[in-house]
């Protein structure tokens, strides 16, 4: 065990240093916010509209990242979320145009559940690591979306659907913000306060110990993969609502932002440790950085480099040193 500190610092200082690393995401979020507020104020960073836009743009990442927190906590990974979001946006749009908004919602969620069941089955029954299962699924989902849509955008005309899923606002507040808050609260409570959440953390923290304690770890892994795909489908439905159409490109590359958001928030890539609140802040931080870099007038190429650098810095600072 690496955790045998021989030269211990005084208790209080030690605790502070440990917490400092654990809470780096919150400190970092505030620090970046303050830096942008000071340097980019004249470019409208603090304008309420700009801030609400950040929420709109990051809602999909946030929803997927909440579920990814469960997947990572259970010691698994899901690389297919971005592609599944794209696929769901297409199936929703098609179902809405053929059979109305209600059918659209059913079709979208069914897409996610079906993909999740398949991922879970391959991972737990066939025994393919989730990294490979979901890597393959990334291609399959994207291919399906292109095929079904004929690579064209599928428009959504139902105003009701658009209002509920991504396009609407209550006063100035986007409906998406409510979705994030509700899903975040549910995710947080489920992970922290239910038997299922505890079993997820136990499975990722020590699979052998968990199974010796009577936990069916395969079932837990199966379920988190289903949850993840379902959340990805929901994110796809938000994309479809916000852009009033389904397209196979929607969500492309999101898996990396989603995983980064969870890891930035303090969820361990190696399982056993996860926090939904941290994940939400992590997602918002990514949105904040994107927004700030755009306002700074950086080119897209420069944004990519700067974003990568900031994420590496944040994760490096949060690592516990041996």
């Amino acid at each position: 065990m690496p955790n045998t500190d021989t030269n211990q610092l005084p208790g209080v200082l030690h605790a502070f240093l440990r917490d400092w690393r654990q809470n780096i995401i919150y400190i970092g979020f505030i620090a970046i916010f303050l830096i942008f507020a000071l340097t980019l104020n004249d470019r409208g960073f603090l304008n309420p509209n700009n801030l609400l836009n950040i929420v709109r743009q990051t809602a999909m990442i946030a929803v997927m990242a909440i579920a990814m927190t469960f997947v990572l906590s259970a010691g698994e990974i899901d690389l297919s979320v971005g592609a599944v979001a794209g696929l769901a946006s297409v199936t929703v749009a098609l179902a809405v145009s053929f059979a109305g908004p209600f059918a659209g919602i059913i079709a979208g969620l069914a897409t996610g559940i079906a993909v999740g069941v398949f991922n879970g089955w391959l991972t737990t029954k066939i025994g393919i690591p989730s990294f490979l299962t979901t890597l393959a699924m990334m291609g399959i989902a994207k291919g399906l979306a292109m095929w079904v849509s004929g690579t064209a955008a599928v428009p959504i005309l139902s105003q009701g659907y658009i209002w509920w899923f991504g396009g609407g606002s209550i006063g100035p507040i986007p409906v998406l913000l409510f979705w994030i808050l509700i899903l975040g609260a549910v995710g947080h409570v489920v992970l922290r306060r239910t038997g299922f959440g505890r079993r997820v953390l136990a499975t990722g923290g020590g699979e052998q110990a968990a199974s010796y304690s009577g936990i069916n770890t395969a079932k837990i892994k199966f379920r988190v993969l289903v949850i993840s795909s379902t959340a990805a489908a929901l994110a796809g439905m938000f994309y479809a609502g916000r852009l009033q159409s389904g397209r196979f490109q929607l969500g492309e590359g999101d898996e990396l932002s989603v995983i980064a958001a969870a890891v930035l928030g303090g969820t361990s890539l190696f399982g056993g440790k996860g926090t939904v609140i941290g994940t939400l802040v992590g997602a918002m931080m990514i949105g904040l950085i994107n927004n700030g870099l755009i306002l700074m007038g950086l080119e897209f190429s420069q944004q990519l480099i700067a974003r990568g650098g900031i994420i590496i810095l944040a994760v490096a600072l949060s690592q516990k040193r041996a």
Partner: protein, 529 residues
């Protein structure tokens, strides 16, 4: 100790036999453990201790015999059935999840809930009460991964007890513990005993057993030797029963007298970060020095320091009279110091790779020109080792995983001989190897010494050390306590008796010295506080 007023039988094993293939691991073994008793289970390596424990906790089904728990026969043999019958075994921290808190671990899958949601503060209060009742000082809100070994162990036992375990099996529970933790563990076990828990306690530390156990059962070669009150078993009697009459096999290895050359490896007051402490030792070329001691005595830590795996905290290591400072194993190998590691499967071989790929791994640079491995040279090097060590393999291209344990170990040794080292450190080189291959490996060790290598050999099988070594150093608690020339362990009065008998007598003497070192080691660490 003393007589028990309550003496209901908690578990009764009768006529248990277990065969693995052709090997009779257990032969008609039977003993009883009473409720409220601490029952020591003793025996050398391969005596059948772990097999009988695995039968008891349902991992193995016995080939014959039966088990009764509190008078009820155990009909199905599975870990679940054993657990349901109230048998709990410490899995050396394997049943704890390092990322959860103590309370969360104790109540895992049985969480306290309020309003349908888990209530961790309630669990912490419950755990605190439980710990207080058992007089265990562990913080229920601490993360298990941050705890020391002793507290983890206590947590694990408390978890088992909270699930109504009536029979507790502890396999070498004190190995990873500091002296103060051992005292705490004993206080705790006595408390459990008072509550009528039956405890089966496996340990190689006889002083500990004398302190804590009420009765002891000794196994040897898969057979039951004796069950007796601890008061009737002084330590030397215990050792006599454990060692027994050695069957031949090792004794026929002829020990040629070593021609001692210059000093090959010298340690001057060497300490590691944790263990070992202040080791001074020199090994001449042509000499085999054995390290005897129990698990946790610092033998492996010392081997890792010498091989450049763990850093040296203080002191000096000299190879061929030159001071060296190894930062990584590659430095040690370049200086001619190599280690045949303890965990063969993970540290010694790459099981899925061929014999050739394994043998050439350490000397890859010598076989490479312009970045390409010279296949002809690689074949020649491998064939030379296969021949020299008589490695039995279908071909040099077969995966090492297809070889027997003994031949896998020869592949590890061949890997090192291919780089022609001056100093070889062998950590438990015969672990998990059948007796025939064992004597072959021992012979090989003698041959290597005769060819001028300086050899340090660690083994838990004392008869092996006595057969292979010119000198035996006894370690305990990270220090060296005694340094015997091999001949000093022979009794001059018994000169004329047969080899097996002499080996047995020497083994008893060495065993006593190990136990003495242990006692001295504990006194030393007590003095530090």
């Amino acid at each position: 100790m003393g007589k028990h007023i309550v003496s209901t039988v908690a578990v009764r094993m009768k006529g248990i036999s277990k065969k693995f293939g052709g090997v009779q691991a257990l032969d008609n073994v039977g003993f009883e453990v009473l409720a409220g008793e601490i029952h020591a289970l003793l025996g050398g390596n391969g005596a059948g201790k772990s097999t009988i424990l695995k039968v008891l906790n349902g991992v193995h089904a016995p080939s014959a015999g039966y088990i009764e728990v509190a008078g009820v026969p155990l009909t199905t043999h599975s870990p679940e059935a054993s657990r349901a019958a109230g048998i709990a075994m410490n899995y050396q921290e394997m049943s704890l999840i390092p990322t959860l808190t103590v309370a969360q671990n104790v109540y895992l899958t049985r969480e306290a809930k309020s309003g349908g949601l888990i209530d961790d503060s309630e669990a912490e209060r419950d755990a605190a009460k439980l710990f207080a009742m058992l007089e265990v000082d562990v913080d229920p809100s601490a993360i298990v991964g941050d705890l020391g070994a002793g507290q983890k162990q206590l947590t694990e036992i408390v978890k088992a007890i909270s699930q109504n375990a009536r029979i507790l099996v502890l396999d070498e529970p004190s190995t990873a513990l500091a002296v103060s933790d051992v005292d705490r563990l004993f206080t705790f076990l006595r408390k459990l005993k008072k509550q009528g828990v039956a405890i089966i306690y496996v340990s190689h530390r006889m002083d500990e057993i004398a302190r804590i156990a009420d009765r002891a059962t000794i196994l040897r070669d898969g057979k039951h030797v004796i069950t007796a009150d601890i008061g009737d078993l002084p330590i030397d009697t215990m050792i006599e029963h454990i060692v027994g009459k050695r069957s031949l096999g090792l004794a026929d290895v002829v020990r040629s007298e070593a021609i001692r050359g210059d000093i090959g490896l010298e340690l001057r007051d060497v300490s590691g970060r944790n263990k070992p402490n202040n080791i001074s030792l020199s090994i001449h070329k042509g000499e085999v020095v054995g390290l005897a001691g129990l698990l946790g005595s610092g033998r492996t830590s010392l081997a890792k320091l010498i091989a450049g795996i763990d850093p040296v905290a203080s002191g000096e290591i000299l190879v061929n009279d030159r001071a060296v400072n190894f930062r990584r194993p590659g430095d040690a190998i370049a200086a001619g110091v190599v280690l045949v590691p303890e965990a063969r499967a993970t540290q010694g071989i790459i099981a899925s790779h061929s014999v050739t790929d394994n043998v050439i791994l350490a000397g890859l640079d010598n076989l490479t020109s312009a970045g390409f491995v010279n296949a002809a040279k690689a074949r020649a090097v491998t064939d030379a080792q296969i021949e020299r060590l008589s490695i039995k393999t279908a071909s040099r291209d077969h995966a090492v995983s297809t070889l027997s344990g003994g031949n896998q170990q020869k592949v590890v040794i061949g890997k090192w001989l291919a780089v022609d080292p001056d100093v070889l450190v062998l950590d438990e080189p015969t672990a998990g190897i059948d007796i025939g291959s064992k004597s072959e490996i021992i012979k090989l060790v003698r041959d290597l010494a005769a060819s001028g290598k300086a050899i340090l050999m660690i083994s838990s099988e004392l008869s092996e050390l006595l057969t292979a070594c010119d000198r035996i150093v006894v370690m305990a608690d990270g220090r060296t306590y005694a340094d015997f020339p091999r001949a000093a362990l022979d009794d001059p009065a018994e000169e004329n008796t047969d080899i097996a008998h002499r080996l047995q007598a020497a083994e008893q003497r060495l065993q006593i010295s190990i136990q003495e070192a242990l006692a001295a080691g504990q006194k030393d660490s007590h003095a530090q506080y």
